[in-house]
């Protein structure tokens, strides 16, 4: 499978055209998506029309940058002026919008070609990829296993090479979890770094748009295109010196419950950074359980507020995972959300003071297991899976509560399934994450592994 960097070079050197590239990926989608169900809608004619126009620009010597002519796909949560947005639901989506979401507008302005919209858990609320209306997204590494969610199609499409990059969202691990289960790289930026204008809201204090791709380099390009300019921004990743980087590894919170083989993969990844001269130390992440629960107070309260009318009139048309992700919020006193929001700044201050004075980045699992089988997520086995996902929530949700940036990276295999780690850092320290991720992928090959049959 070709990297975004190589694809951009081929397009700009004239070795291939936007139309040919778009046709190549459309053909892959048509051939493989029936097995994967990563896409909700394919927009082939629109994509080919856009590709023709972009080819003309290149022939005239006009380039919009590294995304010029790059085909991609978007989670079906972005408002567009010419298409409806399902949000994975039959009752709660966005009718044809009045305008394009800022993210879509930026992608198109940069020359990207939207091939279609991607499957997700209903209302972007759920962790399996099992959508009751659009069907299950399938994990390319094993079609009987879940993709993780809610950005299920995003991760599956990238992992199978149906698109070189895709856009998802992360409210409590919704991008990082499927990235880990499907073996792709994904960036969850600092909250607010990428505009949520025109995006279906899951829980507004946490919703964060981010890219998934085969490698860190592609995520960097997407982040640079999509992020809002910051007047006080510092210089980019070229100035990060790995030998001066301090890496903390989280010890107490996850090691007692994770699959030991997953921890071996993460320890091996740490050893790679250590060989580069990255200083490492153990760090204790404070108030994890409390932040995980406060995250849920806000998610459920805000979801209930957003979907009160839908729940009143159409609750019976909403699948159980989405309904259960909202229901408790209907019965929480309104003031609780304000309390959970009000202590957020103090908890961020405390976390940064405790953790990021001794380390620049922290490495921890995304989830302590590999992707389970769908059959394990139902019936009498469901309780164990729910416990497993509770642990996943513990590793991911506090990151959203604190608004921190995180980078999910493939770091090994267990039982033939990908394992993912995540790096987290201070707010707006995406450059550190991307530099550490780049260095890791330059010294390893996990991100280059491809599922067979695609």
């Amino acid at each position: 499978m070709v990297s975004l960097h190589d694809l951009a070079q081929s397009l700009h050197s004239g070795n291939t055209s936007c139309v040919a590239t778009t046709g190549y990926f459309l053909e892959r989608i048509q051939r493989h998506d029936p097995a994967l169900n990563a896409f909700i809608a394919l927009e082939a004619q629109d994509a080919l029309s856009a590709a023709k126009a972009l080819d003309l620009e290149l022939r005239n010597g006009q380039s919009r940058g590294p995304l010029h002519g790059i085909p991609l796909a978007i989670k079906d949560i972005f408002e567009r002026s010419d298409k409806p947005t399902s949000a994975g639901s039959q009752v709660g989506g966005i009718a044809r919008g009045s305008t394009d979401a800022t993210v879509v507008r930026r992608l198109r302005a940069a020359g990207a070609i939207v091939l279609g919209t991607l499957n997700l858990d209903e209302f972007a609320a759920g962790g399996t990829g099992d959508n009751p209306h659009f069907g299950r997204a399938r994990n390319p590494w094993d079609l009987e296993r879940i993709t993780g969610g809610s950005s299920s199609g995003t991760a599956a499409a990238v992992a199978a090479g149906l698109v070189p990059v895709a856009i998802g969202s992360d409210t409590g691990g919704s991008l990082r979890l499927p990235a880990a289960f499907c073996g792709v790289t994904a960036l969850k930026p600092t909250w607010g770094s990428i505009s949520n204008q025109g995006v279906f809201a899951r829980a507004r204090p946490f919703d964060t748009i981010g890219p998934a791709a085969r490698d860190v380099a592609a995520c960097r390009i997407l982040f640079e295109v999509l992020s809002e300019p910051r007047p006080d921004a510092q210089s980019g990743a070229n100035t990060v010196n790995m030998r001066q980087l301090r890496m903390g590894f989280a010890t107490t919170a996850f090691r007692d419950t994770a699959d030991p083989r997953v921890l071996v993969c993460i320890d091996d990844a740490c050893a790679i950074w250590e060989r580069m001269g990255v200083a490492q130390c153990a760090v204790d992440l404070p108030n994890l359980d409390l932040m995980t629960r406060l995250h849920q107070v806000i998610v459920k309260s805000d979801s209930a507020l957003l979907h009160a009318t839908t729940m009143r009139e159409h609750a019976h048309q909403i699948g159980f995972p989405a309904r259960s992700a909202i229901e408790a919020g209907l019965f929480l006193p309104a003031g609780r959300q304000q309390e959970a929001l009000a202590v957020r700044s103090a908890m961020l201050d405390h976390f940064v003071e405790t953790v990021f004075t001794q380390s620049d980045v922290v490495v921890l699992p995304v989830v302590g297991t590999v992707a389970p089988q769908y059959i394990q997520c139902s019936g009498s086995n469901a309780a164990a899976i729910i416990r497993s996902f509770a642990q996943s929530g513990r590793a991911c949700r506090f990151v959203n509560y604190l608004g921190l940036p995180a980078l999910a990276l493939p770091c090994g295999f267990v039982d033939g399934m990908p394992v993912g780690l995540q790096l987290i850092a201070r707010p707006y320290a995406e450059d550190l994450l991307l530099a550490a991720g780049d260095a890791f992928q330059a010294a390893s090959r996990w991100h280059l592994a491809e599922p067979s049959g695609f």
């Binding site: 510092q234 210089s235 629960r293 609750a315 048309q317 019965f331 929480l332 009000a342 201050d349 707006y428």
Partner: protein, 70 residues
């Protein structure tokens, strides 16, 4: 005051399309009580907090310009 399943079922009548079994109402009561407890624990540990925009806290905690890794 913790809520119980009966309270949840009574409040759920405001949502005609939402049909809850007694078991589900019990689960929700437990969940609501736990989330309320989390808020109380947070207030105990961190005080009433701040209504200032969270973006301020994010900017305040961004990496220092003189960070040693640069």
């Amino acid at each position: 005051m913790p809520v119980d399943a009966a309270t949840i079922l009574a409040q759920a009548s405001a949502y005609p399309a939402l049909v809850l079994s007694p078991l589900r109402a019990s689960e929700l009561a437990l969940e609501v009580n736990d989330l309320e407890l989390a808020c109380e624990q947070a207030l105990e540990r961190f005080g009433p907090g701040s209504n200032a925009p969270f973006e301020q806290a994010l900017r305040h905690n961004a990496p220092p310009r003189s960070s040693g890794v640069r």
